[in-house]
Assembly symmetry: D2
Homo-oligomer: 445 residues x 4
């Protein structure tokens, strides 16, 4: 859960990167950063905070000069020993300067790091991105291209990596293509690579194609990008990107996210029909699936939970009378719609179950006769190790409780999940998917 | 367009007011303030900014002590000579201290002010609320009650006023009841009065009833609120509150806002049928009406324009390539849903037409075969003078162009409005409404 | 303790006012504000905070347009019911708009306010400046000049008032001239009036003369300022301005503040000789007097207490080991200079004695053999009611303890004050002074 | 020009480090940081900004837990490719985690870095401190002690280094002892090492002794610090620390800074007598030397230039009339003292001459009959390469102009410098000093 962007041969490249990162803010709100290059040296600004806060001052873009830039949004992760971890990571090494951003997760991070440390390397962060730089720097190969390829042989996992030198840019996607990565082009020339196509729409770039699983793209001045198929592709795009992580208007590996969500809702309706009066989404995560459910079941869709758009990060400590304040600050039910109704409430997935219980209570308090909680994805029983920050087994409610027990716990009248088969059917049976959170088959060894 | 709240006989009253103002943030984002009373004196904190920013420090609530509080959110208005206008307005006068908040607009503000100034009064702001305080202070009556009533005789317009003395609170709604105002009660005792019922839901108060048009409520310690029907009621609730201003989960004068919007959309479908493939809302303003339109017409509803929730106030100056950036920062179309479709796009109302043109262009760029723009309210041809900040005649597109001309200007294939008759039908023919923006009948003389 | 400034007929008058207020920041750090006029209307920006923080944004000066401006720095005072009291105070009244700033204290504030309130006036602050505006607004006289003069007849106290209308500026100093007020002129035309001449030096104006006690200056467009001697002058400039309040480089009523302080130190040496090795100032308040003491006594001056210039407003809670941290954050002794020495330490005045005790302890801890604490002003036994915010009788150490008791309390080996006679001698016997804090003779009745 | 601190075996060590860094803020205002250890892992917070701004939130100290901490203030240096360079630098390496701070300058930084890079090392900053970590990490020695010693053999320059592992702290000062470094002890146990003794005074630690040139101190839990004389000492403390860089109350290698400055002023008077009426210091840098000059010459000292303590970093753009505003914002002359006088003005040193010219003009404008500019140090003709950020040859006025030419340029009636011989005499002839800025003898090869 992160976003990467690379911009090549575009005037004010760092501004383009800034807007692209803004469009992908949903993929990571903890920290952000941009490294630009003017062909002579690299310039970096990175910090904790939202894109619009970190880059709030026009003068930063005078510093981030040049027609090449890479950028990163970082999702919060626990356990860092620095308050300030952020990407890109820059380094000076034998061939000059490079800067690296990475979205994904390297499963052999610890072994690689241990080996590098034994050879005398030092690490200044907990980010696996730092491994990649070290491997490149330690390679004995002559060119950066060869060094990157040698480094790739040493890492395992799900990754989308963008590497910038003073004059070139290298883009790599792992052979499974777990995380999305697309190539776009500007009408006036110049390229952009980004985690999601919604970034292209904002900055005015045209979608060219997805970066292939196992492919490396090399951008050099005055040339078309060179494509090298480094590894045999074995595509397994992450189902979770479709289920909840990507923005609905993004197109991942040929499928629009919104449409797959509607299909999951339709499939959910076929698998789990119920006698009810209205279908409600949990806003905004369940909207597309709820529309699908309503369409397939014929039960009317109502947007009867209002989301407050002014929710900030911190609030003054409430007084005792204000129970359940936390969920109510964000969500408010429209009572007259809900009262005395049999309600189907749809969300995209169930992780810890905390908010779900509050929502069921909120609907019952609003007078719902029955509350049927339906999830447009299967039970999450395993942590994802490929770049989605799902919690550990202890916290995953479906890893610990049966559906019946969960139903009791959240106080719903019924609870149902989309089947794994149904999920795959909704996504399209034409290919395989990364489904580790559901089936526990960790296919990257 | 403002929000008022009054809290009486509740522990930490200022915190309750703070949360109520937060729930009503949509009614005014320019400035906010709270005055509390501990029975001995009044305490005020007010400033420009959002509720959560102005009241970001727990220590403010130590200062705002007492079990009584009133508060205000102020909508931005042009032409002030101070950068810092905010309410409540406090004043020391013959009977002690009072603090006043006001939502609405006094149409005889200038005459009253002129008369007061001739008598030697000074004004420190442009806010009409200051008139009210002067009238109370200048009255020769003995009690605050009588003084308020005398002051009310001198003002004309749409108003919801809350006045706080050290020990009492007075609440008044004009005889037409143009702006909404409701009374709520806490389970453990104590009262709240607020512009919208959504405030009650957040702070855990129960809706009791609306304040009647022409009614004054007086709250005294240890007593039930006293009701005085100061003026004969002639109810004309503002249609605009239902059309777009109030929060959808609020109940105004007995009708849930969301439901009236769905009905407007249904009526719009009956009046203006069209041959189309999908119905889209302008998010979030058009959602309820679009659901109604889809329901009535049978054309499928698609939530195919994504709204970006991270939009901040300011952005770095974009580079030239990023045309139409402003609307794209907020809204993104889902191309695969829109492409080659005949699209009905629904918004709540049409004011200047600027955004509408951008949205039509956005849909056409996304491949829409036809774009039919439909508004769930009639043509706005007159400025509201009763508390909604509609622009002047010059800026109101329907005051200057025919429907056909507007259609051309925004680039739509067709354009239609809900009829005035249809609006009233949707709201309920059981009573009259304030419809001045549509029919220009300024009924308050 | 406040500062006022008025700028007339100068391009970008608000910027000139800003720099003048910056030069007079020492007279008040709580709040600041400026009102400008472009001849058509008044523009105000005021807020809590330092001059450089409140006016940190160039765009404010686009708002504060015009060639006339007045400004104010406010000293913190307890007991306000608003967190945001600041001047100028603007008002719309019969003749148009005025804006007022005031430095001083009106001793009949409460009576005047009571009378005005009885007549129906309202007060929105606790500041006595609001009285002045009301009196002007209520006058039945035709011109603003006459109204101001009528208003002046109703107020008593020490005051320097600047009143700005859309086209004119009025400057008044009370007949005792307790607070300083000077007139300056710009080489290219245009005038400035300010509490201290140090403001002229910063903005590049030339000192013309002091505003006379009892004088009113009227500035009109295209004319030289008109002078009206409204009251018979009876000059009694405040001794405290010379003792510690004004900036050393300011010239008040013909005497440079620094020089009077040196003289006080010399007189202190004549009155209170001591056998000692070195003379130290409490930085920076005691420097000039310590130089005088050293010069007269022949005991070497050493700048042996270092002041930390980075002291901010708040600090992290220290751990227990860091005793006496508060004074050490600000002041550090140079031990090798102090060790085994008989030390004379000089400060300008003794108010509560809190810091003095800490300084004596600090010097003893640094190894001083003897510490002789000497004050370059007499015992402060009475609160000033004429505009200096001295504490009440309970807090004034010399109002409650004998010199001997104070000496014990602060731990010094000896303690002595400048005599009242000696103070007057140092200031010059050519005129009378306001000495109320020392002799309790409240001469304004 | 930087400050380092190490705290060992003290409760809330990070808070002690914070206050120590605050006391040494004058040594570096660009960035600051602290790394603490609780024996299990290291915790770091570092950022651009002043100590009190970066550590403004009590919660940071909950994060920076443990009884050991090191910290750093960084002086601004040009040419960094990151906006955010700050120390400590943390690294994970073979033996665990270390964190390093460094004050000084490694003259063979580039060769070492080149060699390390050839071996595959990567560098993430331009700071020479990163070299040290790499050398330690790459050493094949078993213990951290041995690795540090091996690393020291590879570096050349002036350095004070503090290295923290999870359980130990290592302190090293180069064999010349160019930069100051002292050892202190807390009454209740625990140690502190800091660049200047003024830090001890603030946090309540007692001075024990200076760290010897060439000495390494090793702090281990439950033991007294072990001392290893790694290199034969050849002491050459930096004359500049005494001349202007250190705080006057600090004691460096046995001499109080303030006292050496007074002696320089006295020697200056002996070498360069002049017929004058008053001696003025440039505040605050020239105060001690001016006192010495006055004492020796018998010419009266006057503190006749007032320093404004409210000077912030940025100011609103002034209007044209405000010439010479920049220096006047900071310094104001007391005209009545200066007028018609022959003035000696003393500063500690002359670097570019820009401010000096403005001060001479200011004094002439104030009416000085003659202005004799005297510097309490010799002509700076060479850049310091040992940790003081003196400008390059092009900018050093004495490297480019004769004394006579400089006198003309700054507009003084005479100009004189302390002789090199006189400087050494003032500092004490008992040892050698680092005088490279004056004599260009770069003794570290």
């Amino acid at each position: 859960m992160c976003a990467v962007v690379g911009v090549f041969n575009v005037k004010n490249a760092s501004k383009v990167a800034y807007y692209a990162l803004f469009a992908m803010q949903h993929r990571g709100q903890e920290a952000t950063g941009i490294t630009s290059s003017d062909g002579k040296r690299l310039y970096t600004k990175k910090s904790k905070g939202l894109v619009n806060d970190v880059f709030s001052d026009e003068s930063i873009f005078d510093f981030l000069q040049g027609s090449k830039a890479i950028g990163h949004n970082r999702y919060s992760t626990a356990g860092s020993n620095s308050l300030e971890d952020a990407q890109p990571i820059d380094a000076k090494y034998l061939l000059g300067e490079i800067s690296v951003v990475h979205n994904g997760n390297l499963i052999n991070k610890d072994e690689v790091r241990e080996k590098l440390i034994k050879e005398g390397a030092i690490f200044q962060s907990d980010m696996d991105t730092e491994n990649i730089i070290h491997l490149i720097a330690r390679s004995q190969k002559e060119s950066l291209e060869e060094r990157i390829m040698e480094a790739l042989d040493d890492i395992k996992g799900a990754y989308c990596i963008i590497i910038q030198s003073r004059t070139k840019m290298f883009v790599v996607r792992d052979k499974y293509g777990v995380r999305p990565l697309s190539l776009g082009k500007f009408p006036n020339g110049g390229y952009i690579v980004a985690s999601e196509t919604c970034a292209f729409d904002l900055v005015g770039a045209e979608f060219v194609r997805d970066v292939n699983p196992g492919e490396m793209l090399i951008f050099r001045k005055g040339e078309e990008p060179e494509s090298i198929q480094v590894y045999e592709p074995d595509p397994r795009p992450c189902a979770f990107e479709y289920i909840y992580f990507a923005r609905p208007d993004s197109v991942i590996d040929g499928k629009t996210v919104y449409e797959t969500r509607v299909k999951m809702g339709m499939q959910l309706a076929r698998e789990n029909p119920v006698d009810a009066d209205i279908v409600l989404p949990v806003p905004d995560s369940g909207i597309a699936a709820a529309l699908g459910y309503a369409k397939e079941s014929g039960i009317p869709f109502e947007n009867a939970i209002v989301r407050n758009h002014y929710v900030g990060r911190t609030f003054i400590e409430p007084i005792q009378e204000m129970r359940d304040l936390k969920v109510r600050l964000k969500l408010s039910p429209i009572k007259s719609i809900i009262k005395d109704k049999k309600v189907v409430i749809i969300d995209d997935s169930l992780v810890r179950g905390t908010t779900s219980r509050q929502i069921v209570k909120m609907l019952k308090d609003a007078g719902a006769k029955e509350v049927h909680f339906k999830l447009a994805s299967p039970q999450i029983k395993h942590p994802c190790k490929y770049g989605i920050d799902t919690p550990s087994y202890e916290e995953l409610i479906s890893a610990n409780l049966s559906d019946e027990e969960i139903k009791e716990k959240i106080g719903a009248d019924s609870l149902s999940f989309l089947s794994l088969e149904g999920l795959v059917k909704s996504l399209g049976k034409d290919r395989k998917y990364s489904l580790v959170s559901f089936d526990g088959e960790y296919f990257i060894k």
